[in-house]
């Protein structure tokens, strides 16, 4: 009888050991993933969160270009900061990493890293598993190589040495960026034009993501153990971290079962490889291990001969329930704030002062009617032979739909638009899609002056949206300069995205792009929002002489493409649907 009861007790104890702890941890992991990605509406509307909270980094690995992300990725921010180390020392990001490291250490990896959660879920797929060995232990040092080469050396060498923005790890390896950022954005039909810029980089990263994902199915936390530079950074702090698994030396008998059952490549509990998952707490028959934050025990031995006393366990559980209550309230508030309250506040403060819609001069008679439907073929032929119209800034070409004589192009004189083309443009719906008449706006230029879109009617206008932190943007700006030099009639306005606009002026000072007009966007001006340009940079809009959108895409352009787009806009009076 006693024997049967003992067997049942042992079975119950074993079940408790294997099921209780991962459950709590899994819930915390899910909670963290949801909190980091509380901007749920981003998955629906295809836009990322651009609020001020993005100036703060989350502790775990979470791509800041994920539509749901409400804060920045610490590793991406570190690479960006090292890239810019030539003019701004990276104190802020280093300070944040040190603070996270010393408070939480690699507990972050085990408990609040969304990428860790994904890896563990993949490892749940029932397949034969590769266990840790002396080989995996050696491979675990590989992540320090990734840290040194891709996170530190490449951004520093390219950023400081050559002035090229190159976040090495993000660009060539990071599977979180591919999965959360690229796939997260591309799955939404709103970002269909983002497909146009996919090429070698995407193909490379896609394959890497699949390889890492597949490896995680067979090998526990494969990315975390062998590749993750963030884990390598936090590993340096693990010894001093306030939070982590600790051992009671009076109880530990050095049997080593904790290490032999641990799936990470630890040498002892709490070393730089330990992610404080807490599995060893249940493994230890001596009850010697506990998860602590300072002097507070977060998880202690509940079974075995040295189990914590029942009142202590009950008190811990009661505190845990209160903490969960607060945490859920915080999550609910975050979800409401990012999805309902903040957008409502933003809509209420919608910018209006600097923006004028051209509805007064162009009333769409049939909304949705395409240019091809409204313009006869003869009109296209006329436009093909028309030279680029010369219109001085401040002297807008008047739109007179009742004019019947076609304008003749004479060198050195302002040329009015072809009346039929004007008439066609008047019949177009105002919008930002190809074939629409672009809405008018005005904005101040860097270095003085003002740009009003309607002032450039009669010229091909190219609007380029860029950012100093965007490598492809900076690479393609010289092509715009070259185009402007070759085709002075083409009007090019490069608008810096509202984020980081303060530093754009200093950035441009020594670039020598004197032929281009530059403007800074801001929340108040809202040009990017008015023209419905994605947060993905660079984005380019080409308008033909009638102000009709002939090209709009988020993709870096080469000089050849740019020239072809210019010529196409010049030849096409209506825009290609």
């Amino acid at each position: 009888m006693d024997k049967t009861m003992n067997q049942e007790n042992r079975k119950a104890e074993n079940k408790k050991r294997t099921t209780q702890r991962p459950g709590t941890r899994r819930l915390v992991q899910l909670y963290a993933a949801l909190l980091y990605n509380a901007n749920l509406k981003g998955f629906i509307d295809g836009h990322i969160y651009t609020g001020n909270l993005k100036s703060v980094c989350v502790p775990g690995f979470n791509c800041y270009s994920c539509p749901g992300a409400v804060a920045s990725c610490p590793l991406g921010s570190l690479q960006n900061a090292l890239n810019a180390a030539g003019h701004t020392l990276p104190w802020y990001v280093l300070g944040i990493l040190a603070l996270f490291g010393v408070i939480l250490g690699r507990t972050i990896c085990g408990w609040i890293c969304p990428l860790g959660l994904i890896q563990e879920l993949l490892h749940k797929i029932p397949t034969p598993k590769i266990r840790k060995s002396h080989i995996t232990r050696k491979l675990s040092y590989l992540k320090y190589v990734f840290l040194a080469v891709f996170v530190i050396a490449i951004p520093l060498i390219y950023g400081v040495g050559k002035g090229i923005i190159l976040p090495g790890f993000c660009k060539y390896i990071c599977p979180a960026g591919t999965f959360e950022g690229a796939v997260g954005l591309l799955q939404n039909p709103v970002n269909a034009t983002s497909f146009y810029q996919l090429g070698a980089v995407f193909t490379n990263k896609w394959v890497i993501m699949l390889v890492i994902g597949l490896a995680c199915v067979f090998c526990y936390r494969c990315f975390c153990r062998f590749i993750c530079p963030l884990g390598a950074i936090y590993g340096f702090f693990n010894r001093f971290a306030l939070t982590g698994v600790k051992v009671n030396p009076d109880r530990c008998n050095g049997c080593g079962l904790c290490v032999m059952k641990c799936q990470m490549d630890v040498k002892h509990v709490g070393d730089h490889e330990c992610i404080s998952c807490g599995k060893c707490i249940d493994t230890c028959a001596q009850g010697a291990i506990s998860l602590k934050c300072g002097k507070i025990t977060l998880m202690g031995p509940e079974i075995g001969k040295n189990a914590d006393p029942e009142p202590v366990i009950q008190k811990r559980k009661k505190t845990g329930r209160i903490v969960w209550g607060v945490a859920i309230a915080v999550l609910m508030f975050a979800v409401c704030w990012f999805n309902i309250i903040e957008p409502a506040i933003e809509n209420a403060n919608e910018p209006a002062a600097a923006i004028e819609q051209v509805t007064a001069t162009s009333k769409p008679e049939a909304a949705g009617q395409t240019a091809a439907q409204t313009v006869p073929e003869t009109e296209k032929q006329t436009a093909n032979t028309t030279e680029p119209a010369e219109t001085k800034a401040g002297e807008p070409a008047e739109q007179t739909a009742d004019t019947t004589e076609p304008a003749e192009a004479k060198a050195g004189e302002p040329v009015e638009e072809s009346p039929k083309a004007q008439a066609a443009a008047v019949n177009l719906p105002v919008g930002t899609e190809i074939g629409n008449l672009a809405p008018d706006f005005s904005t101040d230029l860097i270095g003085g002056g003002n740009f009003k879109l309607s002032d450039y009617r009669g010229k091909v206008v190219i609007l380029n949206f860029w950012g100093t932190t965007c490598a492809p943007c900076v690479e393609e700006l010289p092509y715009y300069e070259e185009l402007k030099v070759k085709y002075p009639d083409c009007e090019i306005l490069a608008i810096h995205a509202k984020a980081g606009a303060k530093k754009a002026e200093a950035f441009l000072a020594d670039k020598g792009w004197d032929h281009l007009d530059f403007a800074l966007d801001s929340k108040e001006k809202g040009v990017q929002k008015l023209l419905d340009v994605s947060e993905a940079l660079p984005s380019t809009i080409v308008l033909n002489p009638q102000g009709v959108v002939t090209y709009k895409a988020q993709a870096p352009l080469t000089y050849e493409k740019l020239e072809a787009l210019y010529k196409e806009a010049l030849a096409d009076p209506t825009g290609k649907p």
Binding site: G51, S72, V102, S133, C170, V207
Partner: protein, 154 residues
Amino acid sequence: MTRNKTFLIVQSVFCALIAGLLAAAALQLYFDGAAKQAEGDLFYYMYTREKAGEKLLPILPLFFTALGLTLAGLILGVKDEKVEKPVRDEILLKDLGSIQNKAVHQTATQGELYARVAIITLAVCMIIAGIINGGLEDVLAKGATICTECVGLG
């Protein structure tokens, strides 16, 4: 071979096959596109939503089958049982030597405490210095725009 092992192997084949097909699809789109671009078609896009959809659609049945198998395996408790057992890699155990668990004290040593306080102080000072020198704005600038080169778009 037990039924358990067969299930695990079948599931492995499914996973490898799905990953392989997804990789092959991307590589095919890329090489086709590269060839077209080499012919001089400036505006030929390697990837479009439609092309991606065409490539992914045939893989979906395989994916759902694997998903179903995974769920069935999890419900039935099918797993590689050696995972639960302690590691017996002789070289690893020899390398580990005696487990130095006692070095990870329950309470921090005086030296560790000093180091902790020093790091926290230093970190706070660095954050303040970073806010002053514009590092915070840099993080915001990068985070508030889609980093196309970071996510693999460009």
